[in-house]
């Protein structure tokens, strides 16, 4: 696991020094994290990297997992989908199963800590056993802007008893009697997906993947999902083909276990058929270095989403210093300031226009890429994410002042 000083080249020496100063004020404090899984998913990925940093900074982090049977996870999956805006049928028995499972967890989980970060709906009900004097934060990673009201009303009863809530974007906020803070998610600059690669490493990987580099590469790395609009990407690319020399690369998972994904992949392959400058590539989910190399080899990176949560793949692309053209949805406008640190589009025509323009104006494209990388350095690295959590802990510990001198 990377040491905190190893983040200095990416985040800046001063960012590391700031973290050390903040952490010194929380020295010896226990920060408990509770979520539902130790592996897989963004929360576990972040925690597995952030907690060792906390330990190195003199804080005592703990990580507990909520436990339940398949029926419990079926209910919380319904909660998750309902909060995301996909209509779900919840019965009184479902809500009772949630209560019963949380009650059992309260008996088995050690909740003793100065500060607790409770992630997402699954463990939210643990608030019933909050130790007195502890500060509890509900950390929501879900876009709640289209949440289903019965599920939200049920959770509201728990969440409104926390000391604070944390959301990823302001548009995700809901009416709550507690303070809400914005802490966007982050990327790890030292992870395989984002770490620096030499030109030789990049070209070796591209050769191994049999992706020719004789033309400028425009890529979109996303699962084959209609909401990522891969067909729209192909249509936009076909519009500019008469005017530019370039190659389009669509990279996603194999979608073997996802019937809808398989259908979209088949449609994408059909749309690309017979066009030698459109490559469709399926990679296994562990292909982090390969994705990194593809992004670094690209001239332009697309994320033409029609709907997104936060859309952190945009920050991953920006971190490679590439000009990014992305859909203006979800958390993407927080990551891209249009025409300054990337391009935001809403249509196939707009995407085509900007692809052509950036290919023809490499100096402007380069500036967008540089600005984008700096924006990510300041706002979307793991070190900033940790800093925000520590600042929030300090805010709650130091009497909730608007102005705090450390």
């Amino acid at each position: 696991m990377a040491k905190i000083d190893e983040y200095a080249p990416a985040a800046g020496r001063s960012a590391i020094e700031e973290l050390k100063i903040i952490a010194s004020k929380l020295k010896g404090k226990t920060i408990l994290n509770v979520n539902s899984t130790a592996v897989g998913g963004g929360v576990a990925e972040i925690l597995s990297r952030m907690l060792p940093m906390m330990t190195e900074l003199g804080i005592k982090p703990r990580w507990e997992l909520i436990k339940g049977g398949e029926d419990f996870y079926a209910v919380t999956k319904k909660f998750h989908n309902a909060l995301h805006g996909t209509r779900q049928e919840l019965t009184a028995a479902d809500f009772q199963l949630y209560r019963d499972t949380l009650k059992a967890n309260m008996e088995s989980i050690n909740l003793d800590a100065d500060i607790a970060l409770i992630h997402d709906p699954q463990p939210a009900g643990l608030i019933d056993k909050k130790p007195s004097g502890a500060k509890w934060i509900w950390r929501c990673h879900i876009d709640l802007s289209n949440r289903q009201s019965d599920v939200w009303d049920f959770l509201h009863g728990y969440i409104s008893r926390y000391d604070a809530a944390v959301i990823s974007a302001p548009s995700f906020s809901q009416e709550l009697p507690i303070k809400q803070f914005q802490v966007p998610p982050s990327i790890d600059p030292l992870a395989d997906k984002n770490k620096e690669l030499t030109d030789t490493e990049v070209s070796d990987i591209m050769r191994r993947l049999e992706i020719p580099m004789d033309k400028p590469l425009i890529s979109q790395v996303s699962r084959f999902d209609r909401l990522k609009d891969p067909l729209g990407v192909i249509e936009a690319f076909k519009k500019i083909q008469p005017y530019v020399t370039a190659r389009l690369l669509l990279v996603g998972g194999s979608a073997d276990d996802d019937p809808e994904g398989s259908q979209v992949l088949a449609e994408v392959r059909a749309a690309a058929e017979g066009n030698p400058d459109i490559i469709v590539l399926c990679l296994p989910p562990t292909s982090n270095i390969e994705i990194n190399a593809i992004q670094r080899a690209s001239t332009i990176i697309l994320q033409k989403s029609l709907k997104e949560g936060f859309g952190l793949t945009v920050s991953e692309a920006l971190w490679k210093g590439k000009p990014v053209i992305a859909g203006a949805v979800g958390g993407i406008p927080l990551q891209i300031t249009h025409k300054y640190s990337g391009i935001l589009t809403r249509t196939i025509e707009g995407t085509a226009y900007w692809m052509k323009r950036l290919l023809h104006e490499p100096a402007y494209a380069k500036k967008l890429g540089e600005n984008g990388r700096e924006h990510v350095r300041e706002n979307f690295l793991l070190t900033r994410h940790l800093r925000d959590y520590l600042l929030l802990a300090l805010y709650l510990e130091s009497g909730r002042q608007d102005f705090i001198h450390l």
Binding site: E17, I21, P170, Q180, F181, T337, R387, D388, I404
Partner: protein, 224 residues
């Protein structure tokens, strides 16, 4: 001139945590009402934060209000006017708020017709900045060590001492100028720094400008 100061300049830095208030504006009138009701922490977030967060962008934006009006409401003229509000020239956040209120009120009086309401999800979200000031390990006792510190501190520190400092006593004066004047009776550094504004440079290039200003003073100071 004194060569070393007995009162070292201790560099601090400013960090902030963003609170989401839940208040939104969909049009110019709602923006005006929101700004009227806003406390200092909200005004600070939408004016000072913007410069800091976008400091690498050239050209930079001016403030969140202007950016939203120009780019989302697409009221070009008003957006331009709001951009022109020079926040670093004001001595309090209340004064900055009043300047925005005055300009928006005038716009509404001059444009009484129906106003554009932005699409859902494109509203302006009012947020507050919970501010933290932290000491850094950098401290300067003379011109040379000051330059060395300037090379190493974060842009947040630079911003805090050069621009945000003007909002607290002695009002309108940045911390660097104040220190050089009170410790070395040097008013030239202050005069040069006071001419810098955050809209014309990125904070990184401002850092280089300030270093050059102090470096130019070094030979004269050494002569005593």
């Amino acid at each position: 001139m004194t060569e070393k100061s007995n009162d070292p300049f201790r560099f601090c830095t400013r960090l902030s945590l963003t609170e989401v208030t839940g208040r939104k504006a969909s049009n110019i009138t709602e923006l005006l009402e929101g700004i009227k009701a806003a406390d200092d922490a909200i005004i600070y977030h939408h004016t000072h934060r913007f410069i800091k967060q976008s400091h690498h962008l050239v050209p930079e934006g001016a403030n969140d209000f202007a950016y939203w009006v120009a780019n989302t409401v697409q009221a070009d003229r008003l957006g331009e006017e709001l951009t022109s509000i020079d926040i670093v020239q004001y001595h309090s956040l209340a004064d900055i708020r009043d300047a925005f209120v005055k300009m928006l009120e005038r716009h509404i009086v001059e444009n009484p017709g129906p106003m554009r309401t932005v699409a859902p999800c494109r509203e302006f979200h009012f947020m507050r900045a919970i501010r933290f000031s932290l000491p850094t390990e950098c401290a300067a006792i003379d011109y040379a060590s000051f330059i060395e510190c300037l090379r190493n501190v974060s842009v947040s520190s630079l911003y805090l001492h050069v621009f945000e400092a003007r909002l607290r006593p002695p009002y309108g004066v940045d911390d660097f100028s104040h220190w050089f004047k009170t410790n070395f009776n040097d008013e030239i550094v202050g005069k040069e720094i006071s001419r810098l504004d955050p809209y014309s440079y990125t904070l990184e290039s401002l850092r280089q400008r300030i270093i050059r200003i102090i470096e130019h003073r070094l030979p004269e100071v050494s002569r005593g």
